[in-house]
Symmetry: D2
Subunit: 339 residues, 4 copies
């Protein structure tokens, strides 16, 4: 019963097969290959608009490049207090942006509410003495298993745009958000005001493949050089392209996310009043207290306390390759402990 | 009745005279002059220990250089939410440190309490995924007119040292803190665990003279190169040295601060229950509400709303050269409005 | 006849097989997996000493992290004028080191000679006004197909060490150097004074796998955080580890390089007096003039002018998977054109 | 006979008097004062166009801010191999620009020739793999005592503009260049294609006062925030403004430079065939060999070997306050040694 992280999952068979197929003789390097062109084409179709695509091997790279492309070094990036860019990237956004400041906003389910955003914008308004708010970064699905709807995103983007901020979406689990919301990728992003996003595949079935998707070229800086200069332009680029190509083909990205979400929903339903946040993706948060968590672990469940030891709260991540019987066993444990 | 800022004050006569005296023929540049040597000697005497001294023209430079000398780019600097380094330096600490993160702590009077510090240290403990707490920065006197006592500083330093953090003191108004506490500069700094400080003279009578004082050479990085590389090594160095020399001579620094504190205390006493923070330096904070503030302005008083328009709170800064009758007039207005 | 770059080569079958084998259920993320441990063990054996190993997906990352781990922002990195870190990484070393300066040295075959190194060390000696030489970076095999012998490396390291510089080796084509020199990896690196190296696998058969190898932990900074902060810690780390594991197993790394070198030597021999640098790896440089290059292209050969259009010089890179008949065809063309 | 550096000179009486006059009660801080406004007005008149003015206390700050305002972190700054920004600022341009690369060009008298600039532009043209040339920086007068004429500047600017580079002039000794060329400041700068300059006063009579002058607002970035973030916005700004105000009033800047140039010319004439570069400002370079230099020192002359001990070449800097009899004594020594 391993619910630690979707980073511990395997790679999907379709993606492994695509890698093998791509390994066919010579191919131009640094993204000049045919597979890379096809991936860009697929993203244009997926988002129903002309986009620029920059593949990387990690989500931290995709996030930090995106943010650096929206801010000056003296800029401020508004994000949720629990955002991955704040808590888990060792200061990568600060590094890539050459020292921009992350201004933190609270809110349940790791979601930013319009009022929270408005309040944060009033900070740092001392002219040249303050850093300059230049970007809003939201994570969808969030680090607490929540999902912003297209309307949620549009409401935040409108406020951001009014203050002349660019909008970034960290889509490390974008597929899970779309699977939950049943909306179109276009509606959830550029039509709702997103300028640039990190589109993740790694957690949801790839080996290591992420994309910076630029929707609004006028607002987003020199991503090509940001990527190269940070060492994230892969030389044998076809191999990251092959992963993303297979991920996008035949709706694989969505199929895998739907499966994970479905199993997560089953856990959430079983958790009942233990649930500490609504389950709107593949991450389930429960807060049954330390004793119950100890009992679950004794029964063989693996997961992280969230946040920190002794919190009495747990994060249960369902991966694309989670076994049905792992979920069934966990649900059975819930029932037993609740009894 | 100008209580806007001690940055609007003039320079003290003794300091102007010292400048004129220093302008005597040729002198070695870049700090090789005799006045600079004498300043270092004076600081060693003032702090009763061997210190390294690096003069600069601005407090932001002194702060940012100090912080950069304590942290790696992936470091975290723990400071109060209202610290000048967070709110008023346009991200200078981030710039000089190449992207370290400021981790914010609350607390009344812009003072950090031991519990607040302990709690902040528990954040960012996700190993390589987190930034690494490396420095504590405290301001004395604080941005809200408070003063840390030697015991306060020692308590925080002990916690910091236990977590392997260096300790920086922003002493832009250090003289006002010492004048209030009636302690020795040594007791308030290195004997209480401070590794490096910014020692301010500009607000309290100089034209533009600040010093980075290194107490703990083992913990503090290459300040000399940090200063040069950031353009803060003055070529005609004798002129900044002359200011600091006169400031330290004959206790001028303390005399000027004592005067400002005395006048501030008079305002604080008159403010009575309007006082929003204890007055422990030359800054007085009152919160009589927006109407009273409007009335005070109508009567000719100048000051900033703190923080932000409509807060109903005001910061009243008494400068070293504040006229007695300005204070008398303000106090009279207080009495009239309270009546 | 594609001799453009070893970056256009495919991945070796052994490495593809290892990837497939690694895709077996769950595995701990971020390098806590068993394969990563085995790779470290293999490197310790290969270099006959205890080393720290940090895998990345690109050589630019490995180089820039290594260099940043040897220098302060005000440091200088001495390297050859034609070094990849100078010419082809979009300023990555400057980015990762937060602004260190590359000080350039000339020399045939893109090799630094001891005198060139000594001369460069005399530059930048104006105390705090200069940047501070802190690192020497050499590429082995070089960007011009040359190889530093263990004695060459030791001679440079001794000079570097005498000036308190750390020593980095860019080993993007380390295997080709070892194959040529027939020496032990240990003799060519740490026994010759190298503190940290970039060990490349990508060009020589991997999909995307490089390693920062730390020999001298006392001299080399926090590579773990440099890697994470720059987005180069892969989450599904087993997949990069699997590549490197297979690359090191059974001497595959050396076998592939030997093959490429052998074919390159055949081309070099055929080139005769066209050869512009001795061929000591898998890269052959010829300078037969623009007309001959045009004729070669007309006959179907693909390669880059080096450096720049119209130079009359060409770089011919032989990849691990170069077909024998491609080489034979090229050699035949040479003979025809020389006739 | 102190010819070490104009940084060892005193401050002019007019400037000291202006400081004293500025010390008159309260004044708004951070550049909101009346003197600062007057300085901007004076610069607009001096350059016969509308300019933005940002005062700083050091020339390194003015240079590094200017350069950062013209380049991205992945930019390249083309400059002479002997430029102050390359040799004497401890990497400040790299720091302020967050890692841009200085691409070096040779040429006599520390002057860049059009061909040298054209050649340098052909380097770094590997697309995303190279840094991107974005700025040309020229020093006028140069570090070797030369002066670029308006025609010289225009020729370089035209090439720079053709390659989409911004143009910066380091005018630490701009007054000496103008005094030599007898041209208008406008003709030597914006009319010749300069976008931003560092206008120096410190060496030529101020205590510490320099200005970033922006001619071309469309090309030059956010200087205000670059200055604040680097700690170079002085709080008691009137005191730097007072210096610059007096420096510009009544042509003081030019008068002082004319005097220094006149004395330098006298030395140059006496030097005769020792002269190693034409003397076109207040710096005289002679190369009489080590023995003569030893003899000059024995006779009481102070100066730096240029560049480096044993070069047999010397830099003789004449300051605005150089005594006539110092020059006479030196000239007499020349005659004696030449005899």
């Amino acid at each position: 019963m391993n619910f630690r992280s979707d980073n511990t999952a395997a790679a999907a068979g379709e993606i492994m097969a695509a890698l093998a197929a791509a390994n066919d003789g010579r191919a131009p390097s640094y993204g000049e290959d045919a597979l890379t062109k096809r991936v860009t084409q697929r993203f244009c179709e997926l988002f129903e608009t002309d986009v620029s695509v920059f593949l990387t091997a990690t989500g931290t790279a995709a996030n930090a490049i995106s943010i650096a492309a929206l801010t000056d070094p003296w800029g401020a990036v508004l994000c949720h207090r629990e955002a991955h860019i704040e808590t888990d990237e060792c200061g990568a956004p600060e590094f890539f942006s050459n020292g921009a400041k992350l201004v933190l906003i609270g809110g349940p389910a790791a979601k930013i509410a319009p009022d929270g955003l408005r309040e944060a914008l009033t900070r740092n308004q001392r002219g040249v003495h303050s850093v300059l708010p230049q970007a809003l970064s939201i994570t969808n699905a969030t680090e607490r298993g929540g999902a912003y709807s297209p309307e949620d995103v549009a409401a935040l983007s409108e406020i951001a745009r009014g203050a002349n901020l660019g909008v970034h979406m960290d889509g490390a689990r974008f597929a899970n958000a779309v699977a939950h919301l049943k909306c179109s990728p276009a509606d959830l992003t550029h039509r709702a005001g997103v300028d640039v996003m990190s589109f993740g595949a790694t957690k949801n079935g790839a080996l290591g493949a992420e994309a910076v998707i630029v929707f609004n070229k006028a607002r987003v800086g020199d991503v090509a050089r940001l990527r190269k200069r940070s060492g994230h332009l892969l030389s044998k680029h076809r191999f990251v392209a092959a992963q993303m190509d297979a991920y996008l083909a035949n709706g694989l990205w969505l199929t895998l996310a739907q499966r994970a979400n479905r199993l997560a929903a089953r856990i959430a339903e079983a958790a009942g009043d233990w649930l500490s946040h609504p389950c709107e993706s593949n991450n389930v948060f429960i807060k049954p207290g330390p004793e119950i968590l100890t009992a679950l672990r004794a029964a063989g469940a693996e997961f992280y306390d969230w946040v920190g030891e002794g919190s009495g709260e747990a994060r249960l991540v369902v991966s694309w390759d989670q076994k049905e019987d792992e979920v069934a066993k966990l649900v059975a444990q819930f029932a037993k402990l609740k009894h």
